[in-house]
Each structure stands twice: as C-alpha cells, then as structure tokens.
Amino acid sequence: MKVADSSIRVVEVLELLAFYGGLFAIIRTTMHAVEPRERRTFVAIGLVWGPSVFVANWLLYQAGAMSYLPWVNNFLHTFVWIGFMLSWLYLGVRERESLFVQCVIFATFSLIVKYAEQKLFGTWEHDNFFGIDGNGAYVLGWSLADGTYPLLTLFGLRIAARWIRGLVVI
C-alpha cells in the first residue's frame, strides 16, 4: 500500500522527531559529545550513509523489494536517523562493545524505529522480505540488515582511510 506524501501531516512529523529525540537521549548515554578529533569521522560516516540509503530506499522500492517511503519519511529516516543519530551511536559503542553486540544494538534500534514509523505514517508495509512471506519478516529482515551497519562502517572507514585524511580509525 503506497502512502502518499500528501497524507503525512506535520503533527506526525513532529511526533516522529520527538520520538527520535527520545532515542537520541538514550544514544547520548554512550557518548556525550563527539570529540573534536572525531568530528571529521562523524561527518564522513553520516554523509556516506545518509544519502546512499536515501537513494537505495528509492531504488529498492523501484525494484519491488521495499515499500514506498514518502520523501519526508525517507529523508527523516536516512538523514536524521541513520546519518546523524546512528553515526553518533556508532562512535559511542564501537570501542565499548564487541562487534556482535554492536550489531545486535543496531538491529534492535532499527526495529524500534521502523515500528514507530509504521505506526505514525503507515510506512514499512510490505508483504515479504526477499521471498519470505509476511510483514513481520519484512520489518525484521530489514532490521537485521541494518544490524550490519557497524561491520560495514568498521571496514568502510578502514578502507576510506587509505584515501581520506583525518579519519579516526580503530
């Protein structure tokens, strides 16, 4: 079911932002502020993830693998949630938790956010996840996929560091 852009109300956007704010308060317990040395790294992570997932969401919708995300939802989800908040979370946990635990944290947060966006906007409705039937499978499947964020970012940063100066890499 495609949710039209015009059906999203301002109050729902504000509710989502407030929800994000609540999650951010939790995320900030892992790291109060981005160290000056890590700001470039933070921006780099956000700038890679945000736009790329924004575009990927649309492409996957075109390919029939994802439900349609109205541009407001897509923008908020990719630039605010993934680009800003998940980048913050990553820098906060990458040295404190094992890679496995990081992946579980990211998958769990992703599931929570998808559920919230589904409740607010009616998005994230799809009947299968790459052939596995059910909306539950769809939401869970993409959440687990989002759980690979720490792994991809770890190695992505290492590779990017070969060409980009000033990234703090572990």
Binding site: E95, A161, G166
Partner: protein
C-alpha cells in the same frame, strides 16, 4: 592403579554382572533413542495424528530419557548401584500395572491411526506395550537376581566423604521428600484421568498417558532413592533434572511450531491446549529449578567448590582418581579429593581470560562416556573407568582431525590439572626423591630485598595518561628500549599487561607462581591445541621466567635477514653487533662456569665425548647467561627470588629509573585493547585504549610515539585488532601476523643408574650446537609439576617415571621452524595461532633427537623416553632409528615452544615486512614495533639477547 581401582580390579565383575551391565547399556541406549522417536514425530512425518495429545507425548519423551539415564547409571557400577537397577525394574512394573489397569477399567475399545502402521485397536497397542515392558522387566529382574547371588559387597567409594550431612544436603533431602509427595499424586492423577468419565475423552491416547504415569512414578522412586542416602546418591539427581528439563523443552517446541489452539477438555472445563502446555511446562520448570538449586548448593557445600560447577568437579574427581595410578602394592600420597580441592584453589587464583577452557574440558570429560552408552565418567566403576579412558582417549578412532584433537586436548588438560595438583603437594615429594631448595643443604641465603622499582598500581592511574613515548610491554624488547630512550632524553611510559611481582614474593609453589607470572601465557596453544606457546606475562615479561640463556644472533641468520633477495631487513649489522655487545656488558652476560652447574649437564658433556663427538662435530659447553652467582635452586622458570637472574625486572628497569629519574614510568595490570589511528599518508596513532586492573577500567593513553613490544603473539594481535594489516585493514596491506615461527622444542628424558638430582643446579646449564645445521641442544630439568606435565607415560607408567624423578635428566632439542605459522584473531576472542609443523622441520627434529639419543646412551642412560601421546621408550642406540617414524606424526609427538618469533617482520618492502629498518610500521608516522615479532625468520638459538640487541639498536632510530 589407584587404590580404588585396585580394590575394584581385585573383585572384577562376575559373568552375571557383565551380562546385566550389557543389557542395561543396550536398554539405556534404546530408551534414549526412543526419546527422539517420541519428541519429534508430532512435528513432522506420517505419524503426526498418532502423537496428538502433546502433553502426554512430551511426558513420554521425558520418561524414556529418565529411565534410559537410570539404566546407564546402573550399568556404570552394577555393584554400587543395585538400588538403581531395582528402580528401573520398579518403573517398568508400574508401566505394566498402569496399562493393565487402563485395559481393565478404561476405554480401550477405540482404534488409533498410526499412519503407515495401520489402525490397530488401543487394546492391541497396550498389550504390545505390556509385552515389551514385561519382557524388559523379566529380563532385567532375572539378571539382577542372578548377579546378586554371589555378588561381592561393593567397596566403599573414597570419592564420597564420610562426614555428617551439611545443612545444604539436609535441605536437599527435604526437597526430595517434598517432590516425592508431589510426583506421586501427579502420577495417580494421570492414571485417574484415563479412567474417569470427565476426562476419558481427553486422556485418550493411552500409551502416552501411561507413560506419563511412569514418568511421575519414576521421579517419585528416584527422589526417594536419592533422599535415602543423599551423600552417596547425589549424582543420581542428574537423570531427574534432565527429565524435568526435557519435558518443558518439548512442550515449548510444540507451542512454538504447532497449532495448539484447540480445546483440551477436563471435567467440563475447556482450556486451550496452549494454556495446558504452558502451565505444565511452567510446573516442570519450577520443580526442576527447585531441585537444581538445592542440588548445586548441596554439592558446592560438600566439596567446597566456588570455581567449578558440580558436573565439572565430578569429572575432576573421576580423572584424579583414575589418571593418578600407583603400581600394584603402592599408594598415591595425595588422595583424589585433596587433588581436586587443590585444583579448585589453584585455578581460582589463575589470572587468565581462558580459565573457561578448564571448565569446558572437565565437563567434556565427565559427559563424553554418554556418547558410548555409559553414564558420566564419575559414575563408572573405577576399574571400568580406567579401561574406558585407555580405550577411548589413548587410541582415539580415526575421527575427523578436529574431533580427535579436541578429545586429546581435553584429556591432556585433565591430566595436567591432576598432575599439577598432585606434584605440587608436598606430600608427594618424598616419594619422588625431590627436595625443595629451602630444604637442601646450602649456605644460608636471603631472598632479594625490596626492588628499587616504582610501578604504578591500577588505582594510581587516572582516565587519561599523557606520555612522550609509550611502550607496550616490559619484556626484553620493551625494557631495553625504555632504558635506551630514557638515556637519550625521552620520557617513557611502559604499559605492562601482567602484574608486578617482586622477587621477594616469588615462592617455591610452582602452581601459584605459574598463575601469577604467566597468566594466559601458560594456556596459550595453537588452534588445533597441539602446540603450546609459553610466554610470561608480568613486569619483566618472559625474562622474569626464562632461563636467561644468551646467544648472539647467528651470523648466517643475520645474513639471510639482510639478503635483498630474502628478507631485505636493511639492518646495519656492525651496529647491531655493537648493540648486542653493549647489552651483554649491561647484563653481565658470561659463561656460567662459577654457577652451581646441573649434574645432568656434566653427564651430557661426558656423553658427547664418549659418543666420539669432537667439539667440531658438537660444540657442547656451559651456557652463557645473564646470571650472577647462581645458587642452583632450579626455579628459573618460576622467577628467581634471590636476585641472581639479571632480568629486566631485576636489572634493566630499576637501572632505568635510578639512572634517569622521572623519565621511566611503569603501569602494571594494563592491557592495551587497541590503537586509535588518524588516517593520512602517513597515518598517525593518536592514542591507545587500555583496560586497567581487575575491573578492566578503561583508560586512554596519548603519546607522541608508540612502540609495541608485547611479544611475538601480542604485538601482531594488537595490530590486527587495531585494523593494521590484512585485506580490509587500514593503510597498506601489510603481512601482519604472517611468518610467525618458533624454536620448536622436544625433550628426551633419560633415566640413569644413579641419582642425578637434576632439579638441583642451574636449570639450563649446558648447550650443544652440532655441525649439522638446524637444531641445538639444551640440558633442562624442571621442578616436579613442570616435569610431571611433560613426563611421558600414562597411569602407572607415568607414576613410575615420576618415582624415578631423582634419577632422570632431560635434554631438549630446539629446531628453528619455517615461518608457516600465523597469528590471527580467534573467534572466541584473543589471538589465534595457526600452525602445523612442516615435514622438513620434523625431520630436522628427528635427526636432532637421534643424535641426542646417542649422547645420552653414551652418558650411561638405561632408557630414554620421548614426549608422545602414547608412550615410547628406547633402551639402546640400536632403537634410535624408530625416532624418525615416531616424530613424523605431529599429532602424536608432543611439541611446544617458549620462543615464538616473527609476525611483524623487518623488511624494507611493505609487501614482505611490517616494519622497516627503523622499526617503524610501514605507512605510519609514529608507530613502531620492537620485540621478537620483528624477526624475519627463526633463530634456532634462544632469542632474548637478539631481542635486547635489536631494542638497543632500535632506540637510536626511534629516539
């Protein structure tokens, strides 16, 4: 053999007992298999409709499991467990009786759909089951009666303490009585359900209903039996706990995977099957949890265990009782219970991440027999237990290699724990002719006074530390480098993972000192568990626990290192030689002619002469070492308490602080977790993160320069963990962790006619360098524990060999291996070492052992023994030819090293090396490596002097 096993062997099982045991094992295995037959069909297959009443099906699976395990426990020791045999008979009688009652008074006229087996009537199924259970009952009862006639009394079990019950055991007894009171009416309720009008339509699958009755009856009988003698029968709670876990597990499976929404009518009430399954599962879990908590408390209180779980501790007791076997007529000096108690207290004090390996190994040992239809190891009669271990472990079947390795390493760990405990106990020393240094005749000597060394304890360190140069590791490389850098005006911070232990605190207690000075380094093995890589982990590093033997780097090796077509290390060899000479002067390295030489070394030299080996053929002489006025205590490997070993701990680090005040800080118990790097060309390490103290408090260290001197394994691992090296690593693709090599060691242990007392004197006193390349000899003997864990032989043979302790001597062959080993990140955390000896290295080892064998026989040895998994003893030079074949199998010969090298090789090319001639990591501005990991290839000789020489050399590059 042990007194217990001897008593058991003196009254071997009668024919009737053997038959009974065989039938019980077959019955037990069959019943356990039946558990699968019961539990799985509701989920899939053509018989799903037959297995419709899920609570009873789950109970049926639990019932056969309970009785199956009971059969195995009884089979393990038919003499001591007569009561369990009766319990099995009783449970089958209950089964027959319950089915009889149901046939007589229940509704058995219907038919059951058994899929491809047809639709027999309920009565037919019940009569068939009665026939089967009746036959089993009759057979077991007949065998039991036959066995009982003329059955000798069971010997008392020395593993069971004779003392009043503890409060926890009394509480367990109460709980067991309560459970009897709970299970009995439950069983009656199941039977009533099949007979009463209001429930007959639900309790319709009568075979499963009667199984539920038997489950409840079986649990009642078992609880009553255990309560009758809690002290002796405590292990029998195992089958009850398994049954109480299996039933709810099956129910949970059905809840998740099946549609359980249909009604389950009971007396006019129609709850859903979902709710019934959930309620029954909860009830079983609650009863099982109650039993588990009280059993664990009772066991822990009785055995006073805190580290091991009861199951692991039982495995330890069983192994202690079996492996430590005195020959007939002799007695072990330390009883098994004391051995187990010693192990518990030792392991609690070991400071290592991998102590879980001990737990896992003991659990595996205890449970392994179940795979062969035996009860857990501790429940097998001692004589049979010994035979089981001999058959299953000493000659494992040709399994997949990983399974074979795992089996052998598990038994090896059990063996080492037991031997360490036994031979560390003073009660055993007289019997082996050992006298500790404190009881030998010698001039009065005091331990070294307080060390003039300031080491910061974890609580003295803040969250962030700033430094000029930060060195990771305080061993041969790190300490020497720190001294030289301080001399050059730099301010140095040394981070050491291990603790700071002062020489005055070193003791004669081998196990205690190994736990304190080696940490994880004592448990470090390759991934296939075959090869031990021993390393110290304390302030001073391996120099605190090594034998202080000093060899300069061999010239052919240096030439190869610098060869542009080989490693292209780019070293200034004249400068390096000067550095080595400087270190020798600093540490007073000299030939130990004045030391109390080991008598075995003298015999070795005589043997070489008598074997006709000229100095040109074998250069055999006293070692050079950084030791002054050695007292010959023989405790080099557990720390020199008398300040005679001029190690980094004793000499270099105190000198650095004394001569350059304020420039050398040392923090102990600080494990570096990773480096944080800022990308660029070159990249720059900005700080490192470490975990401090027992609480692993996180600290950050910032410095201008970072040097890794964490040893051949540690430095590579830290680099890998920090993203340096590898395909997806930061910076250039460096071969971090590759090219790891060792001085692979294997000793020959020789028994002489007369006492040698090789534990006295300089521990490694003599060496031998033959004209043929590739290996060296070192005389070497250990205090009792280290010698016992390396001693060839099993059971009585091992015991006898240790009884010959004061007539034994040992010489090791060291082979410099190829660089085919590798450090990587293990899945379980920590470094993984992948290594399998190359054929050429094994052939070199064989040549070395054969030559050594000639020398030892010429010295007067009666026999020589190789360190192998089985047992190989040679009685004359004509048998030395066997060595080549014995050593050709790396799974059979026991190998190890204390000299890991390589992994971060020196080379001008980043393709072939990790660090350049300036010891800087390629692609990095301020990160260096300076320890044995930079060796491009193995030395064959002891590496510490080379490491220190390189550190002295590197200081000029880094400063």
């Amino acid at each position: 053999m042990s007194a217990n096993a001897e008593a058991s062997a003196a009254m071997p099982p009668t024919t009737a007992e053997r038959w009974l045991r065989a039938v019980l094992r077959i019955l037990g295995a069959g019943l356990l298999l039946a558990a699968v037959v019961y539990a799985l069909p509701p989920l899939t297959g053509p018989l799903r409709s037959f297995y419709g009443e899920l609570p009873f099906v789950a109970n049926s699976a639990a019932k056969v499991t309970l009785l199956g395990l009971a059969c195995l426990y009884a089979a393990g020791d038919v003499r001591r467990r007569r009561g369990v045999v009766l319990l099995v008979i009783g449970a089958h009688l209950v089964s027959v009786a319950a089915m009889g009652v149901v046939l007589a008074f229940g509704e058995a006229s219907g038919h059951v759909d058994m899929g491809f087996l047809g639709t027999p009537s309920v009565a037919t199924v019940l009569w068939s089951a009665i026939g089967l259970d009746g036959a089993i009952t009759a057979a077991v009862a007949a065998l039991w009666l036959w066995a009982r006639a003329g059955q000798p009394p069971a010997a008392p079990d020395p593993l069971v303490p004779e003392a009043p019950l503890t409060p926890q055991e009394r509480r367990l007894r109460t709980v067991l009585v309560v459970l009897c009171g709970a299970f009995a009416p439950i069983g009656a309720a199941y039977l009533a359900g099949a007979l009463l009008d209001g429930t007959q339509s639900t309790f319709v699958e009568l075979p499963f209903v009667t199984n539920s009755v038997v489950l409840a009856a079986g649990l009642t009988l078992l609880c009553a039996y255990v309560a009758h003698d809690v002290r002796r029968n405590l292990p029998l709670t195992g089958p009850a706990l398994v049954a109480l876990a299996l039933a709810p597990l099956a129910m949970l499976l059905y809840l998740v995977l099946l549609d359980t929404g249909r009604p389950f009518p009971l007396w006019g009430w129609e709850p859903r099957l979902t709710d019934v399954l959930a309620a029954l599962a909860l009830l079983d879990v609650a009863l099982g949890a109650l039993l588990l908590v009280t059993v664990r408390a009772a066991w822990k209180a009785r055995e006073e265990i805190r580290f091991f779980a009861p199951l692991q501790q039982r495995g330890l007791l069983a192994v202690a009782e079996t492996l430590l076997a005195a020959p007939a007529g002799e007695v072990e000096q330390v009883p098994p219970r004391r051995i187990a108690a010693n192990v518990e207290s030792y392991v609690r004090g070991v400071r290592a991440h991998r102590t879980w390996v001990y737990r896992a190994a003991l659990m595996a040992l205890e449970l392994r027999p179940l795979l062969r239809a035996w009860p857990p190891l501790s429940q097998i009669a001692p004589y049979e237990r010994r035979r089981f271990l001999e058959r299953r472990f000493l000659e494992p079947p040709p399994w997949p290699r990983f399974a074979k390795n795992l089996t052998q390493v598990v038994i090896r760990i059990g063996q080492q724990l037991v031997f360490a405990s036994y031979y560390n106990d003073r009660a055993s020393w007289r019997s082996i002719g050992y006298a500790p240094f404190s009881e030998r005749e010698h001039e009065p000597v005091a331990k070294r006074g307080p060390l003039p060394l300031r080491v910061h304890a974890p609580q003295e360190v803040g969250e962030t530390i700033e430094a000029d140069v930060c060195i990771v590791g305080s061993g041969a490389g790190g300490a020497t480098l720190a001294y030289e850098l301080a001399k050059a005006g730099r301010s140095v911070l040394i981070l050491e993972r291990g603790p700071y232990v002062q020489p005055r605190d070193f003791s004669e207690n081998e196990v205690e000192m190994v736990g304190r000075l080696y940490g994880d380094g004592v448990m470090q093995q390759t991934e296939d568990f075959r090869f031990t890589v021993l390393q110290g982990s304390c302030v001073g590093g391996s120099t605190t626990v090594n034998n202080a033997v000093c060899f300069p780097p061999p010239e052919p090796v240096l030439a190869r290192w610098n060869d542009p077509s080989a490693h292209d290390a780019g070293l200034d060899l004249d400068r390096l030689r000067a550095s080595v000479a400087a270190v020798e002067r600093q540490l007073d390295v000299h030939r130990q002619d004045e030391a109390l030489l080991n008598r075995s070394g003298v015999l070795y030299v005589q043997g070489a002469q008598r074997a006709g080996l000229s100095p040109g053929q074998l250069d055999a002489a006293v070692v050079r070492a950084n030791i002054r006025d050695c007292l010959g205590c023989g405790y080099c490997n557990i720390g020199c308490a008398y300040g005679r070993k001029l190690s980094m701990l004793d000499r270099t680090l105190p000198a650095a602080q004394a001569e350059f005040p304020g420039r050398v800080r040392i923090v102990a118990e600080c494990e570096v977790l990773r480096l944080r790097t800022q990308s660029g060309k070159p990249a720059r390490v900005i700080e490192l993160r470490a975990a401090l103290g027992a609480e692993a408090r996180r600290v950050t260290v910032r410095a201008d320069t970072f040097v890794l001197s964490a040893g051949a394994i540690g430095s590579s691992y830290l680099l890998l963990r920090s993203g340096v090296g590898g395909l997806l690593g930061l910076g250039p693709r460096l071969p971090v962790g590759r090219g790891l090599c060792f001085n692979m060691g294997a000793p020959l242990t020789a028994e002489m006619e007369q006492p040698v007392r090789a534990y006295e004197g300089l521990q490694i006193s003599h060496y031998g360098i033959p004209a043929q390349n590739g290996f060296v000899f070192e005389t070497w003997f250990n205090p009792p524990v280290a010698q016992a864990v390396n001693m060839p032989g099993w059971f009585e043979r091992h015991f006898e060999n240790m009884r010959a302790y004061d007539r034994l001597m040992a010489v090791g062959v060291l082979v410099g291996t190829a660089g085919n080993a590798r450090v990587r990140r293990a899945l379980t955390g920590g470094p993984g070492i992948a290594y399998r000896p190359e054929k050429a290295d094994l052939q070199t080892l064989a040549r070395g052992l054969q030559l050594l064998g000639r020398v030892l026989f010429a010295a007067g040895a009666k026999r020589v023994m190789l360190n192998t998994w089985g047992y190989d003893e040679l009685h004359g030079p004509d048998e030395l030819g066997r060595i080549e074949q014995i050593v050709s199998d790396p799974d059979y010969v026991t190998l190890g090293t204390g000299h890991p090298q390589g992994g971060n090789a020196l080379s001008r090319s980043p393709k072939h090396g990790v660090v350049g001639p300036d010891f800087r990591v390629h692609g990095y501005e301020n990160l260096h490596v300076c320890d044995a990991s930079v060796f491009p290839s193995s030395l064959t000789v002891n590496p510490q002097l080379t490491v220190m020489g390189l550190a002295h050399y590197a200081a000029q590059e880094i400063a």
